[in-house]
């Protein structure tokens, strides 16, 4: 088997693992009415972890509809005179999806690794947006005791998207609220 084929298969496995983990957590959340309580652990939230340049960033999944590999979005229609970070309009199962490159939006260049790149479909009410990120790492649970208000001065690169910080692996991971891009 060539290295390229092996890499591609690994990516498929990673996609499947993330998708099934996402479905599992989504189902658990629905069964528990959105949040699970535990006296010892506090209220648990599900977070998706993804890479933003070299930084790990988290987002609560409550406004995340799905995670789609970029090639699964139908032909992307470019939008003339739009800012560079607006990649265009895609067609996801008959619904229009405006695609935004998060790196570009935050002034970090462009997402370059299209093999690992994923589109986070975020929604609020009837509005939805496809946000391209470099790589989705995992979906995890975090207690609200580990989530603290974010300090914007520590994350100026996240602009107005910083929502909070979550304690993970002995460090603070910034949490973003991507639905702000819809408003």
């Amino acid at each position: 088997m060539s290295d390229k084929t092996a890499q591609s298969e690994q990516n498929v496995v990673a996609d499947d693992a993330i998708s099934s983990r996402y479905a599992e957590l989504l189902s658990a959340r629905q069964n528990l009415g959105g949040e699970s309580g535990d006296e010892d652990r506090g209220v648990l939230h599900q977070l998706i972890l993804f890479k933003l340049s070299s930084k790990r960033v988290a987002m609560a999944i409550e406004h995340l509809r799905e995670v789609v590999p970029l090639p699964k979005i139908g032909g992307i229609t470019p939008i003339p005179t739009a800012p560079e970070y607006v990649m265009g309009l895609g067609n996801l199962r008959g619904r229009v999806l405006t695609l935004i490159d998060l790196h570009g939006y935050l002034g970090m260049g462009r997402v370059t690794n299209s093999e690992l790149a994923k589109v986070l479909v975020v929604y609020e009410g009837k509005e939805q947006l496809g946000i391209l990120v470099e790589e989705v790492e995992d979906i995890v649970e975090a207690s609200d005791r580990d989530i603290h208000p974010g300090e914007p001065s520590l994350h100026p690169d996240l602009k107005n998207l910083l929502d909070a910080e979550v304690m993970r692996d002995g460090g603070l991971t910034p949490m973003v609220d991507l639905t702000r891009m819809l408003r």
């Binding site: 032909g75 939008i79 003339p80 005179t81 739009a82 800012p83 008959g94 229009v96 947006l129």
Partner: protein, 139 residues
């Protein structure tokens, strides 16, 4: 505008300019004219607007006369070619989320359900006329 089953259909003309496919509401269009007939009208070259490296004007272009306002003369919009006209239901038109609408000069899109094949952005004509450079010469 056509009427069907008591529901309103919206007519959209798809045009191509500088490699981009965009839609225009037929209600914003006064008439379609070959550029040879242009005399003394203000022009807006959509190709140049989309790609400033393209020179304004050429007699090989197609054009549509846009309604500027009820009482004012129209503005001639120059494009590479005129495409098909689609009659779509309001449901086939989707507006952008506010955060996106602020940064892109389009009013909405027609969806593949409209039959155009691709998602086609619809020009926000009043916004276009207020922002674009009007008055280039047709050569």
């Amino acid at each position: 505008m056509a009427l069907s089953d008591g529901g309103r259909l919206i007519d959209i003309l798809v045009v191509e300019a500088s490699g981009f496919k965009v839609g225009l509401l037929m209600s914003e269009i006064l008439e379609l004219l070959p550029t040879e007939k242009l005399q003394g009208v203000k022009v807006l070259d959509l190709r140049h607007h989309f790609n400033p490296s393209i020179q304004v004007g050429s007699k090989k272009l197609s054009s549509v006369l846009l309604r500027k306002s009820k009482d004012q003369e129209g503005v001639q919009l120059l494009v590479d070619r005129l495409g098909d006209i689609y009659s779509v239901t309001p449901e086939a038109i989707e507006t952008f989320p506010p955060g996106v609408a602020r940064v892109i000069p389009f009013w909405a899109v027609i969806t593949p359900r409209a039959g155009a094949g691709d998602v086609v952005p619809l020009m926000d004509v009043p916004r276009l006329l207020s922002k674009a450079t009007i008055g280039g010469l047709v050569r």
